[in-house]
Symmetry: C2
Subunit: 141 residues, 2 copies
Amino acid sequence: MTHLSGHGKGCCSPAEGECFPPGGARVRGFVHSWLLLQLAQGPAHGYELLERLGDEDAPDPGFLYRALRALEEEGLVRSTWDTAGAGPARRVYAITDLGLDYLKAWSVHLRRTRDRLNRFLDEYAALTEGKGGERRERAPR
Amino acid sequence: MTHLSGHGKGCCSPAEGECFPPGGARVRGFVHSWLLLQLAQGPAHGYELLERLGDEDAPDPGFLYRALRALEEEGLVRSTWDTAGAGPARRVYAITDLGLDYLKAWSVHLRRTRDRLNRFLDEYAALTEGKGGERRERAPR
DNA sequence: GCATCTAAGTGCATGACGCATCTAAGTGGA
DNA sequence: TCCACTTAGATGCGTCATGCACTTAGATGC
């Protein structure tokens, strides 16, 4: 079955909204791009990035750290240990030239995805407006 | 590893664009919503829906048929066999009231996702514009 | 009878992600 | 000095969404 039934926690009749796949309609690979975008604006360490998003959008910490390692393996970011400052050492990431290229390429995909979403939403709006509460041709009761 | 390395076929240095996860930045569960949207505009059978998208956006046929069955299991669509007309029998799907509710709920998620993408793209645009070919603070060579 | 088109479907693999859990260095207080 | 707490990073494991390859089967034309 799909996410249609597999709600991890709580909720869920379509009418109530909020349920579906955890976190709503996520874009595949978005976290990676988002990380690159953040790092393109300056170096940072994982925990910091994690807190930059509120509790809302924040990805799973485990996933975030893994993503950073993956990016590094691909040569899209580079890391160094920062032992200065309080607390345990932090692994500080910075984006590479390759990472910038990648970010650029991804932004193209994301724009395309955005456009597709817009088309969907327009089509849906066209469907619902102009016929108020009215329902249309569909299977008979 | 992530899609960053797992390119099924061909390609792939960031510079060339086009590669990454097959089909670019897909939205989780989008196919299901798209099917509901199409069916909200009138009944149709799988093969027909498949062709409504060009070769470009079309999902894998196997996945599409499975998605339709899943939607039916959830009671979001309903199907009947159409044996009239040429060729083999077609399973014609129609959306249900529950499906319409679900579509509505999903459209909310999709709007949110669209907005998130817009924020990303704006941020990226802000980053690249205003400093032409110029690069910014990042790891030293 | 055989190729071809339409239509639907199955089997299997994998990637992206979520959740639970763990280590370990600092820090502050009793 | 021992302990609880915070910061920071990481691993194990499961699962869902999806992709790819392949199969079935009725119609139709030759």
